[in-house]
């Protein structure tokens, strides 16, 4: 078992982790250049800073035009009708209970009683599943993979699976798409694109981005060859399903034909056929919702975490599931090994990493998930004190999010410090991993950003040639890329080279969609 005590001490204050070479993390001054041999690897990756101050906040908080008009007393029936249309039954009851008309005393008392009953019932429901009493924004903040979703300028981050292109969702509900090959940065805005919790690029496709919003899932069809910086909202498909909001997690099938979406409020997760906008709800009561989805890279299994102390692993052929109760709390995050045979997950309230192995997947075991009986602890991340030259550093705690690089050689875990002790901090710990013949987890080191910056989100580049490339979004709004240079021990997985993809995307598929962006 690996523990934090085996780690090398964190870099000196003021230093920034730059890269990994010869199995050691190198840190130095922020403006330091990479060694010459490696420079061309990262030359065109955009390193950017999006401070919170530059983002335009919402000019108005309410999303209706109501306050702009002079107040006008309508009849009660009209108001009730409006409330019914806007809010539903509760709105009508509220409207009647608060009515100023004097002659409707009995109706007012009746509706206030009914309202009280409603509240009582919902509080009863909420006591079973406490997360249901949260408002949807708090709920997203609670279940998001970003450490400080509500306060930081970057809310979600997603690498394109085949090219060097990523999307960043920002605090002002816009999404920017950065591409290494082009200078245009499309900014996506949509009326329904509010409180983005997660994003995912469609695999085996030029440029389709699914966005988990507060009320729906938006699927943006972007044209990689377009020069437009503001794609119109006509390029977005709206996938909405009653009772399925807020959406906190999305996962594309690695083969690209299905999209899964999950909401902590809905007990069903939805399987979308995006092209036809059909969906199949996969209902499974218990748990009270689905908070986090992770599709294994080989496409055979899906992890679905719930808000209560249970998570499920679905197999993606016949869609049956195995249920895994945890002891302490809900499953916070999880990641799959590249061959889909091992799941690492963490649980809220425990500072350890669990591992769960699955039997080798083959088509003959229809409808079986094939998980082992028990999960084993592979790393202990409880708080550890490091004595350094510059004083002592306390590191350790619960894992907030965890990513595994596509070659299966590096694992990054975002460890949230203990909130009670001020000197413990949020930090990214990197492990060296090996999956076969035996699973091994070895310490590699801690990543440190600029002074005062705390890591928000982490993501591995899906097709970095010389090892692995971790992208870290910091609380200052900075997005930096930290390369790990190593020679993969495994058979090289044939991740696509960017060039044919780009060529194809411009040839057959995407250039044809140009009317969406043209000026006509």
């Amino acid at each position: 078992m690996c523990s934090l005590a085996l780690f090398p001490p964190p870099p000196a204050p003021g230093d920034v982790t730059l890269y990994e070479c010869h199995n050691a993390l190198v840190s130095g001054h922020i403006y330091e250049k990479l060694p010459l041999a490696f420079q061309d690897q990262l030359a065109d990756l955009p390193v950017l800073t999006i401070p919170k101050e530059t983002l335009k906040a919402h000019s108005r908080l309410e999303h209706s035009t109501k306050p702009a008009f002079i107040h006008h007393q309508e009849t009660l029936w009209k108001r009730c009708l409006n409330a019914w249309r806007d809010v539903g039954m509760c709105g009508v009851l509220n409207e009647v209970a608060n009515a100023e008309e004097a002659d409707l005393q009995w109706m007012k008392t009746g509706s206030s009683w009914a309202l009280a009953l409603c509240h009582w019932v919902s509080s009863l429901h909420g006591s079973l599943f406490p997360h249901l009493s949260l408002c949807s924004e708090d709920m997203i903040a609670e279940f998001s993979q970003a450490v400080d979703w509500a306060g930081c300028s970057i809310r979600a981050f997603a690498w394109h699976p085949h090219t060097s292109k990523f999307a960043v969702a920002l605090l002002d509900d816009s999404i920017r798409v950065y591409n290494t090959n082009s200078a245009t940065v499309p900014i996506l805005k949509h009326r329904l694109q509010r409180n983005v919790a997660s994003m995912a690029w469609k695999p085996l496709c030029a440029s389709i981005l699914a966005v988990a919003c507060q009320s729906c899932v938006l699927v943006w069809h972007l044209d990689p060859t377009s020069l437009s910086t503001r794609p119109s909202s006509g390029c977005a498909q709206v996938l909405a399903y009653p009772g399925h909001s807020p959406v906190t997690s999305l996962a594309w099938a690695p083969s690209g034909e299905m999209l899964l979406s999950a909401s902590p409020v809905d007990t069903a997760m939805l399987v979308w056929d995006v092209s036809t906008e059909n969906c199949v709800p996969l209902q499974w009561f218990g748990g009270g919702g689905v908070t986090y989805l992770a599709w294994s890279p080989d496409g055979s299994k899906v992890l679905a975490a719930t808000p209560s102390a249970v998570f499920r692993v679905w197999e993606a052929q016949m869609w049956t599931c195995e249920r895994w109760p945890t002891i302490k709390g809900r499953c916070q995050t999880g990641c799959w090994s590249p061959d889909g045979s091992r799941l690492l997950f963490t649980v809220l309230g425990e500072s350890v990493i669990y591992s769960l192995s699955f039997s080798e997947y083959s088509g003959e075991m229809q409808g079986q998930v094939g998980g082992s009986k028990t999960a084993s602890i592979v790393a202990d991340l409880s708080e550890t004190t490091f004595e350094t030259l510059y004083g002592e550093a306390r590191i350790g705690g619960e894992v907030h999010s965890m990513v595994w690089d596509p070659s299966g050689e590096r694992l990054a875990a975002l460890i949230r410090g203990n909130p009670e002790t001020p000197e413990s901090r949020t930090i990214v710990a990197v492990f060296r991993t090996r999956n076969s013949p035996v699973f091994e987890l070895l310490p590699c080191g801690f990543l440190q950003g600029e002074p005062g910056a705390q890591p928000q989100l982490i993501a591995f580049h899906p097709c970095f040639k010389k090892g692995a490339l971790l992208t870290v979004c910091w609380s200052t709004g900075r997005i930096s890329h930290i390369p790990f240079f190593f020679v993969s021990a495994q058979v090289p997985c044939f991740s696509p080279s960017p060039s044919p993809v780009v060529a194809l995307s411009s040839s057959s598929a995407s250039v044809r969609e140009q009317p969406l962006f043209s000026e006509l």
Binding site: H162, L204, C205, A206, T225, Q237, P242, S255, G256, E257, M258, V271, D273, V274, S275, T276, E277, N278, V280, P281, Q283, Q317, M318, W319, T320, S362, G363, E364, G367, F494, P496, S497, S499, P500, V501, A503, L504, S506, S507, S508, A509, V511, R512, Q514, P515, L516, S518, E519, L520
Partner: protein, 610 residues
Amino acid sequence: MHSVPRCLILNICYYHSFILYYCTFMNNVFSFILDSFNDWYTSYVIFCILLMSVVILIISIFNVEFYAVVPSIPCSRLALLGKIIHPRQVIHSVVHAIMGMLVAWCAAVMTKGKFQFLALPCTASESLDGAVQHMCLNEYHLFLLLSGAFMGYNYSLLYLVNNMNYLPFPIIQQYKYLRFRRSLPLLVKRSCVESLYLVRNVCVAHYFFGYIPRAWISTTMDLHTDSKLHPLDTLTGLLDLSLLYHTWLCGVFLLITWHVTWLLFKIYATEAHHFPVQPTFAEETDQCLPKILNSNPPLIIKFLALQDLMLLSQYSPIRRQEVFSLSQPGGHPHNWTAISKECLNLLSDLTQKLIMQQEAAATNGRVKQPSTGELGRSLSSSEEMAFQTQRSNVISRAHMPSLVKSSLLPLKALSTSDLGSSFGSPFSSPALNRKAGILDLNSPWHGSVQSPHVMRRGPKLWTSSSGGDLRFQSPLILLFVLEYSTQPSFIYTWLQNKQEQHPEASIQAVFSDAQMHIWALEGLSRLVAASFTEDRFGVVQTTLPVILNTLLTLQEVVDKHFKLPHASSKPPRISGSLMDTSYKTLRFALRASLKTAIYRITTTFGEHLK
């Protein structure tokens, strides 16, 4: 070959036994609700249960007889009308009406009370001789029977109009029980709501026409009308809550049982079937996948085979190995050749069909298409175009303003080569169409800008002015005569109107069997992708150029199709209804899976394709 239908029949038998079981169960529930326990064993009820089983059996026979994997989409209203009065459909409707009546009779009998019998002794003792008891017509019973027949007929009509005979294949595989359970709540809800509407319609129909069957029944069966009871074709008679409630309940029962029968049939018929790739015994040769794909079996079996191909290419490495294997004596890749050939045939057939359709659309005057030769040329050069699109993109962009301007200029300024080359650029549709229209119309107005409206009226005005001495009449008469002389007769125009093809429907009709192509695309591309690591003998290598060529050609044509002006580029909103309308959106699924297939092959092979 015989055993494949056999297994289908086995499936269906299995499904019938399930239905029988379930039908008795439903009857139990229903009669439990309606009756007290004491009456359970009466002979009537047992007879009713038997009768209901027969009804369900007949309904499911109709389901089996009428199903289709490719929906038939009427392209015009006249075609729909033709479908309704087709003898096959008439039989369907009549049988369903009778079945509905039987269900209603069972419901009436099991309800007891005032609904049980058609004839009752008269309550009014107006007859002088008390010895002879007159029998009176029980209109409540008649009402239930009629409403049952109405509901049955209505079900049959909706079955036709909503294409309920279409078997949609699910987007994910699931066990039968889970699929059934998933659809059940919606089914019950829809049946309840639909039954409400049906009751309303029955009441309206009965209010206006109820006296006809009543008079007929009472004369043929020599029954009297009970003067004490309200006749049911009056408002007061119809406002009987118990009657309405029982009619509604009867409708719910009817719809739920029939819909469940239908649902179970759908689930059983679309279940994935496992075809062997290589026969283990000599007599199984006819049932193995390559053979079935290459022969012409019933369509459902072909669909199931293609679905199985898609599943095996995705999930089963062992069966993929069989596909890539060589034949034992001789060493020929027969399996792979047969499978790939059939898939490619399917795809090139679709390409042909789309090209034909686009040409038809062009001659309709909707769009101007480049000639086939040009199309072929552009297709052959598609690969080299792949690397230049950025440039061509810029070119077409540069073209755009000039095109818009030139439509305002006299026609002579517009060279035809310009027109041809600019087609296929995304900016073509509105301005170009108008130009094409001007080109086609050889009218004296050429050279000046005309709205399409004026152009259509152009010839009419021309003939009228050449109309000889009419010229000297008053303008009013002239107008009147003009209207009659130039306009065809009313019926003709009406027919024309009805026959005019609805563009959306005709597009749906073109893509109605696209599910096959989607599976062929997925299966083929997955096999090719898997061959990168699993194909030991390199059997796929030889066909790879052909596959890529076919896919890219199809891509080109599909892209062109989606650029036709009347083709919507987004799927329509689907309301949460019970009826499956997935056939309406198949073309979008085809487009998406085509792109994914091309990307799957190119990303797997990557640099090796160069």
